[in-house]
């Protein structure tokens, strides 16, 4: 119990199979309280499945889950008043207005009438929903829906907030605003677990786990992950990116090459000494002149490094 005061979610060996498919594979997870914890992973990597197991919606095939001192799924019902869940797919009622939806959620969490009115008023102001209060949820824009969903998920002031790709239909400005709100909530002591496949969002998390094919392939703070990438990152400003890429692909120790406009971002094994010089030399031999520069790894590099298996040497 002492420990559970610091740890909001602890999972050990968490596994979920759908027939032959292993959607989540032996996942160990420790999510500290009052933090924003990210789940970063490509489509189908098991983010939603994991979140569903954490709140008791799916029964794990194997492994144990403890959320805020409660064993899930056995004690999941006791947990329900304390968690807020924002589903990946919009799950409020599209044929009801914003106000009706929030009234409903307030009722479901047994808020008294006065308390409910007060809270809804606060949320209207906080999430900028006043002017759409009487609009049907189904007719709202992606950003408005997302604000409504967050308002609904936080209406009862949960201690733990599970957000499954909350920003997938939202423009960059709305996303930035949204993350502002998340930081406010974390500041007030809410633990937030958020899944995403946006690097910029992952970078904002206090800690994150990278999932790939149901396995956790890395975890830590964004800084830690970048420091432990075990790759050198080199940027090549190529005039003929296509041919440059072809030439570099033959080089020993190249892990991946990603084209960013006229630049190529090259991940190369740490074991290669002086990668800048290596690359310059290779390009010179091929009579290509291109400035080469060693850069700091970012989270995207980490993502590429941990989600691509070295044998299938990527050239794209």
């Amino acid at each position: 119990m002492i420990e559970s005061e610091k740890i909001a979610i602890r999972a050990r060996g968490l596994t979920r199979r759908f027939g032959d498919l292993v959607a989540v594979d032996q996942l160990d997870l420790d999510v500290p309280r009052s933090m924003i914890y990210g789940f970063l992973g490509p489509n189908g990597s098991g983010k939603s499945t994991t979140i569903r197991m954490l709140c008791g919606l799916l029964t794990p095939s194997e492994g144990s889950v403890n959320v805020m001192g409660l064993e899930v799924p056995r004690q999941a019902e006791l947990l329900k008043p304390d968690i807020g869940y924002m589903t990946q797919k919009f799950s409020l009622y599209e044929d009801m207005t914003v106000r009706e939806n929030l009234e409903f959620v307030g009722g479901i969490y047994s808020l008294r009438r006065a308390e409910r009115k007060q809270r809804i008023k606060e949320l209207f102001a906080l999430y900028d929903l006043e002017e759409v209060a009487n609009q049907f949820a189904g007719t709202m824009s992606g950003g408005q829906r997302q604000r409504l969903a967050l308002a609904a998920a936080t209406l009862h002031k949960p201690k733990l907030l599970l957000l499954d790709e909350p920003t997938s239909a939202v423009d960059p400005k709305s996303r930035r605003d949204f993350w502002g709100k998340l930081f406010e909530l974390a500041e007030q002591g809410t633990t937030i677990l958020v899944s995403t496949h946006y690097m910029d969002e992952a970078e904002r998390c206090h800690r994150l786990a990278i999932l790939d094919h149901g396995k956790k392939v890395a975890d830590g703070s964004p800084q830690e992950l970048q420091d432990n990438i075990h790759m050198s990152v080199v940027e090549v400003a190529a005039e003929d990116p296509y041919r440059t890429q072809q030439v570099l692909a033959t080089l020993q120790g190249i892990f991946s090459i990603t084209q960013l406009g006229m630049r190529l971002r090259v991940l190369i094994s740490e074991s290669i000494q002086d990668p800048e010089a290596q690359i310059s030399k290779t390009l010179k031999n091929a009579e290509i002149t291109a400035p080469v520069r060693l850069v700091k790894p970012n989270l995207e590099d980490v993502f590429v490094a941990v989600t691509q298996k070295p044998p299938q040497r990527a050239t794209q």
Binding site: G56, L57, Y85, K89, S91, M96, G106, G107
Partner: protein, 366 residues
Amino acid sequence: MKVLPRLFAVILKEFTQLRRDKLTFGMIVGIPLLELILFGYAINTDVRNLTAAYTDQANTHLSRQFIADLSSTQVLNFEHRVAAAADLDELLRDGTISVAVFLPPDFDRRVADGNRSPAQLLVDGSDPTILGIARQLGNMPISFDVQGARAPQVGAFEIRTYYNPERRSAVNIVPGLIGVILTMTLTLFTAVAIARERERGNLELLINTPVSTTELMVGKVIPYIAIGLIQVSLIILLGKLVFDVPLRGSLEDLYLVSLTFIAANLALGLFISTAVKTQFQAMQLSIFVMLPSILLSGFMFPFDGMPAIARYIGEVLPITHFIRLIRGIMLREAGIADMGHELIILLAFTAAMMTAAILRFRKRLD
């Protein structure tokens, strides 16, 4: 406590959605109206000019007079005259005519005796309208003057009904129709209720809240109970106004029985809802329940005339018991006390279905 606000939230939500769902809302009023009008034509007894044929094997003054009298009522329109009774059968079977009149060679003597029906009326019983007419004609006395005849103790016709041994009447249909309409609409409403939330993704949010299964189920049923009562009132009222269907028993009994039956259908629907994944499956299963409800409940065919297996199936259906109750109350002036066991069966059915639905429903996705 905490149960009430949650229950109330679910009820209010269902009402809000119901109010917006034009199709469902239309079904609530539209189906009773449509069914009543459709069946209303069938049970309309004021029909004229039925195509008919006759065989006059007596061919006396009296028999010719009799046919002429029948023609003059304008109910029957004699288009054929044939020589043998077998020809009448033929014409009936191929649908050329719907009524046939057969006058036997000893017609005059039968009229004079007055204790046997002098003529035979052959009726296509597959059409309830014609049945009604036949009954009217059957009661028609032979009014013309026969020397030495006593006042006849029996009607002019001995009626032989083809294809439908039970002679249903207008009033018999409307009470049964309440059962059919409630089954058609209410079972479907709750059957799709949970499947719809699942399909639209609402369920994933809902089952992650503290709302309990019982609150959810009861909350979904209550709004439709109100709907069911509105439908019952509508049918009774229209039945009375348009078709003059009597209500001989008490109104309280009628509503009590209807309420129980409404609950039974909603519970059945909920149970279906827990067994299916999609709204489409829910609809299919509802239709699967609806067909036997119409065919095996005693609404279409007399219950006692059905084979044993069909009667067993019928006994399992709530509508069978409801039809017995409602016909008793509306037509025979029976009270609930007379048919208490039928009501108990309905209550037991409701409790069993509701319990099964609550136990089956899991706040899980797997």
